[in-house]
């Protein structure tokens, strides 16, 4: 996210992960190389860092999907922003720190026009180590100021 401060995806956060997400067909893809700062156990990527990758990559994929569904290009108005409603992450096996990680995400459902349900898998060296179900909530539309602040009323996660 150019100029953003986000620890996961903000280009202006020098302490952050600065991940970048791209389209590959119907999937959002992110490739990212961890280093020693990102360990949990020695040699293994920290679960919280993995959660950060999944969170930011899924929000980017949700945003890009919303724009694509309107037949628009990224960067055209109106601008959309998503907030995380739910992260449900299953750690299948340890994720090594010494190779690039690949995340693939896709939107599988949209409800109420603003709740985007995604599935995301993370693999290391071609081996899937983590899978997640994520809910992204459209909370800001640049052409509808009323939508801003909807994040304050997501309600209980059970309802998602």
């Amino acid at each position: 996210m150019p100029g953003d401060v986000c620890f996961g995806c903000g280009s202006s956060n020098v302490a952050g992960l600065q991940i970048r997400s791209f389209w590959d067909g119907e999937e959002g893809v992110c490739v990212w190389q961890p280093d020693g700062r990102h360990q949990g156990w020695a040699g293994i990527t920290c679960g919280g860092i993995i959660a950060t990758l999944i969170d930011c990559h899924c929000m980017a994929t949700a945003m890009a999907t919303a724009v694509r569904r309107e037949g628009r290009a990224l960067g055209t108005d109106p601008q959309y922003r998503f907030a995380t409603g739910r992260l449900d992450i299953g750690f299948l096996k340890p994720t090594p720190i010494d190779r690039a990680l690949e995340l693939r995400a896709r939107v599988i459902d949209v409800r109420d026009g603003r709740k985007f349900y995604l599935e995301c898998a993370l693999s290391a060296g071609g081996v899937k180590t983590v899978e997640a179900s994520v809910v992204a909530v459209l909370v800001y539309r640049s052409n509808d100021p009323q939508a801003h602040g909807a994040q304050f009323g997501l309600g209980a996660r059970r309802a998602l």
Copy 2:
């Protein structure tokens, strides 16, 4: 975790969050102050940072619970270590960056002697903003080397 490299709780990771967890009755408690590096949106704590706090605090609470259930003090042998099996996190509302965050976790169930189920809530200024269900898996016992490596066979998260 003294001497550990973990991004979330390792005391030797200077780039990490260095959280510390303590007992308060039956709950594990962690108080931690975010700063500008940990933002998601401006002024709001990054969801991935929140996931990191929950992950590490729940693993510490699971470990301390396992030791306490044996009537032992922390630091006595055998040493136990837990890996994250599942993080299911509901973001109820934005978590501000400008005040201390408090996490409270407790073990609500133990299955197969090694799967610890926890609930965890995060609040900011007394307002609960995040709640989570977490599965911590006992993967290392210093008196049973065979247990080490069990993390490689957690199986699908559906089974948790």
